[in-house]
């Protein structure tokens, strides 16, 4: 127990330059001050002076979104376990505090020791989405770090981008020093060693040398060591290294044998409310379903399962370390684990009567069954059920290779209703390649059928369904990377038609909820997703004009982005449309061609052609390899069960 004299900033066991004493009086004037104080359960403050390599890890969105992020949590723990290496965390600062910090000259800080982010050697930023780019600029600027990588000195950290968006970091290549593709666990350790060695030698050759060493290691993409030439019509002519010994193509990292990486072992537990009030255990990484729109599924191949016993150990350790009451079994498609039934039953048996809830955040429609539903609710807690058919019509689902039939969906939803769920959520996308108005209207028809089936199966009217729909954004390293993105006008028109079809029908209006994201933010996401280096100036201008927190409706301004694009692209063949609604051809060099996700470009193209022809591709976990290229290129393999093991009951509880 701490006496009053020991708490507050004086709880840090050593003295260090901290911004806390300047920050504290400002916190009474801002909303949700708890998000800036740190000290979360399982957070770590390592001795600054004893560390040779210091990382700040940032999730470039608000604390409530960033804290639960598994990527940051894993790397924070992996790095802090290493002798001589420390990692602290930082999150985006809301405009109310940002304004006060600028007035009072307080830099972007870490939550752990409230130090300026500029004091660290490496500044890692995890981009789950491109909508974090403007927040990165805010953080750099608040931190007193030059926005342009070329202007940085030895006094500035090495800015590293990771996360899914780093598979095309070209739009932010002016602002970052390095992008790391793929799994971060081993990559950050290797980078730490390279930086440690360079520092021990007395930092020879300055910033350029350490970046070159990192680039030559093969696992770090350093944009400044690559030049891009363009054709007059705006297309890319070629991308080539401007230094010797740096690889022509930089490959992604893949961690094999997840059981060896049981992180986070000590999940962070915030005091503040966050978007996920539960503990997450990643049950497998990768996905081979082959949904053509899904960047995550493409870039995280191959499938690597955590074993049933590895999962059980992580759940037990995590529950003890956190006190959460709900465990999310996380992955891109959790019901696809080869032993998901045994896992659900084993965990439900083990925690019988302990008010621990289980949830599968991402469930495929066709893999769901009555047994799984019952196991998940046995302990009394019933979390929401979400399914993602993605496409409204059978034809649309063939185009995207999401092989779910309408009958599957209705059977699954009915099962849920019969087993006591009163509400299910269905995810769809609008603006998919080849989509027509009719395809989207099919969503209404199918959902009404599901409600009808639910009403007759339960013998009552107390069944509800919420449709959640957003605009499709074509992503790099997917078969749809060549596709024309649908314009916001067409997307918004279809979303409105669908809303009218649902809300105008009195028989269903109350039973079907309708949530949608309009098409405009998706157009900007499209620009940032498939943009090249020339988009960087647009990001900078939008940010200079006040753009922040692009993922938040109340802060996103489409007009500000359009104005920035018009200004920057004036007099060139480029435009917002050029990057978004323009279909690409096979011969065009794409901005990310020199970044290797392992996927064979020819295979992606043939799958794109297959999509247009309505052909389907199976899951290579259960059917023979269909040559996407990842395993041979990356020297990896599919790692799946079943192991045949079971989860033992716990004794002495």
């Amino acid at each position: 127990m701490c006496t009053p004299g020991e708490v507050g900033i004086s709880c840090y066991p050593w003295s260090m330059p901290s911004v806390w004493s300047d920050l504290e009086p400002l916190l009474l004037q801002v909303s949700k001050p708890i998000q800036y104080v740190g000290g979360e359960l399982n957070s770590t403050v390592k001795d600054w002076d004893a560390a040779e390599v210091r990382w700040v890890l940032m999730y470039p969105d608000a604390y409530e979104v960033g804290l639960p992020n598994q990527g940051v949590m894993i790397l924070y723990e992996v790095l802090n376990e290493v002798e001589g290496v420390l990692a602290e965390r930082s999150y985006a600062i809301w405009p109310d505090l940002e304004k006060l910090m600028r007035e009072n000259d307080i830099p972007q800080f870490t939550l752990d020791s409230h130090r300026s982010v500029r004091d660290f050697d490496l500044f890692g930023i995890s981009f789950a989405t491109e909508l974090g780019y403007t927040n990165m600029l805010s953080a750099l600027h608040l931190g007193g770090i030059p926005l342009m990588a070329a202007d940085r000195t030895l006094e500035d950290p090495i800015v590293v981008a990771g996360g899914h968006a780093a598979f095309n970091p070209e739009p932010i290549s002016d602002f970052i020093d390095i992008a790391v593709l793929g799994d971060g666990e081993e990559a950050v350790l290797r980078m730490s060693e390279i930086v440690r060695e360079w520092k021990r030698e007395g930092r020879p050759g300055g910033r350029d040398e350490v970046l070159l060493r990192l680039a030559r290691s093969g696992g770090c993409y350093v944009p400044r060591f690559y030049d891009v030439e363009y054709f007059e019509d705006g297309r890319i002519k070629r991308v080539f290294p401007n230094r010797s010994d740096v690889p022509y193509r930089v490959a992604k990292h893949t961690v094999m044998d997840l059981d060896k990486w049981p992180y986070p072992k000590q999940p962070l537990v915030p005091l503040a409310e966050t978007v996920h009030e539960r503990m997450s255990v990643e049950i497998f990484r990768g996905c081979t379903r082959g949904c053509r729109f899904c960047q995550a599924g493409m870039i995280t191949r191959p499938v690597r399962e955590r074993s049933i016993t590895g999962i059980a150990a992580m759940v037990e350790q995590g529950l003890n370390a956190t006190g959460y009451e709900e465990v999310g079994l996380l992955s891109l498609s959790s019901a696809d684990h080869s032993e998901i039934g045994e896992i659900a039953k084993g965990l439900a048996d083990r925690y019988d009567g302990e008010n621990v809830g289980l949830s599968l955040p991402s469930t495929r429609v066709d893999a769901f069954n009555v047994d799984l539903a019952n196991e998940l609710t046995r302990n009394g807690r019933r979390s929401g059920l979400t399914f993602a058919p993605e496409g409204g019509s059978e034809r649309m689902r063939q185009v995207i290779n999401k092989m779910v039939t309408e009958e599957d969906l209705i059977r699954t939803v009915t099962t849920a209703y019969v087993n006591g769920w009163r509400q299910v959520k269905l995810y769809f996308m609008c603006g998919l390649p080849t989509e027509t108005d009719e395809d989207v209207m099919q969503i209404a028809t199918m959902t009404k059928r599901a409600i009808d089936a639910g009403r007759s199966a339960t013998g009552g009217n107390d069944v509800r369904c919420t449709i959640s729909i957003g605009a499709f954004v074509p992503k790099p390293h997917t078969p749809f990377q060549w596709a024309a993105q649908e314009s916001p006008d067409v997307v918004d028109h279809r979303l409105k038609m669908l809303r009218d079809a649902i809300q105008g029908d009195r028989k269903y209006a109350k039973a079907i909820g309708y949530r949608y994201h309009d098409g405009k933010p998706s157009a900007i996401e499209g620009l940032l997703s498939r943009g090249d280096r020339r988009v960087g100036a647009v990001i900078l201008r939008a940010w200079e004009n006040g753009q922040r927190f692009d993922g938040w409706t109340e802060h996103f301004s489409y007009d500000r982005w359009v104005a920035a694009a018009v200004e920057i692209f004036a007099g060139s063949p480029l435009s917002l449309d050029w990057f978004t609604t323009r279909e690409r051809e096979l011969s065009e060099a794409l901005p990310w061609d020199h970044l290797d996700s392992g996927l064979d470009k020819e295979w992606l193209w043939s799958d794109w052609q297959e999509a247009l022809a309505g052909g389907e591709v199976d899951d290579c976990r259960w059917t023979p390899c269909f040559d996407c290229g990842v395993c041979p290129t990356m020297d990896t393999e599919i790692q799946v069960g079943p192991t045949g093991r079971t989860i033992p009951l716990l004794v002495n509880r």
């Binding site: 004086s10 504290e24 009086p25 005091l271 409310e273």
Partner: protein
């Protein structure tokens, strides 16, 4: 449809006194209750649950202090499914809570309606500010105490409210510094500014007067943002002694 889990009956109720210290004074009441529920689970205290499809732990909170205000005297009550050793629960729960949310004392509940016994609170204000601001304080206190009514306005969920602060303030004095242990966060102390300590006893009730309302009632520009406020005690108010007394008195027999 399956029936929800039957929950076991309550066999013991315990009352917990805890503190909210240092930077954890920025926890809101909702933040605290989430942290506590997790700590209860982690420390395997046999908490009772409500019945129903989403059972929740049976914990009731009394008179929680506002966000940003530290406290040495917060209270809550828990219902348990098994009898426990109070000393053990104290150390387990304190261990499971973050540093700064600290358990001070636990008693078994032998009386009912605990919340109603919390009649008043003793507040401590540590104010670090430029000299010209601090010089206004003695006069402001005198003027406040002489007035019969001091109205302030506060934005609430139901819009702007206007209410009298004076009637709820039982005492207000400027005291010598260092009532709290030294080293507690004194944000501006290192800049050569003097600190002033105020102590006040405020009666609970309607309209509820918060410590920042009292600072507003002193009518000194910039005062509220320079004060670190701590609740030192809450409990029954002894009119004769003019002091807040221990609310656990009756439970200790």
């Amino acid at each position: 449809m399956k029936a929800p889990h039957e929950q076991r009956p309550v066999v013991q109720r315990i009352r917990v006194k805890y503190a909210k210290r240092g930077r954890l004074r920025f926890t809101s009441h909702r933040d605290f209750s989430r942290a506590l529920e997790r700590a209860v689970r982690r420390s395997r205290i046999p908490i009772a649950y409500s019945s129903g499809f989403t059972p929740h732990p049976r914990i009731s909170y009394a008179g929680a202090s506002p966000t940003g205000v530290a406290s040495e005297a917060e209270y809550l009550e828990m219902a348990l499914q098994d009898r426990v050793d109070l000393g053990e629960v104290l150390s387990q729960l304190d261990e499971a809570l973050p540093i700064g949310l600290d358990v001070i004392e636990i008693v078994e509940a032998t009386t009912s309606d605990f919340a109603a016994t919390l009649e008043a609170s003793e507040w401590h204000f540590a104010i670090s500010a430029p000299e010209e601001l601090l010089q206004q304080i003695p006069g402001a206190i005198a003027a406040f105490l002489q007035a019969e009514e001091v109205m302030v306005e506060r934005m609430s969920k139901n819009g702007l409210r206007r209410f009298d602060v004076r009637v709820a303030v039982l005492s207000l004095v400027e005291s010598a510094p260092a009532t709290l242990a030294d080293g507690d966060s004194t944000p501006m102390g290192d800049r050569g500014r003097r600190s002033v300590i105020l102590e006040a006893v405020i009666r609970h009730g309607s309209p509820s007067v918060r410590p920042d309302d009292l600072l507003a009632a002193l009518r000194i520009e910039g005062l509220a943002s320079r004060a670190i406020v701590t609740r030192l005690a809450q409990g029954p108010f002894d009119e004769r002694a003019g002091a807040v007394t221990d609310p656990f008195g009756p439970d200790r027999k």
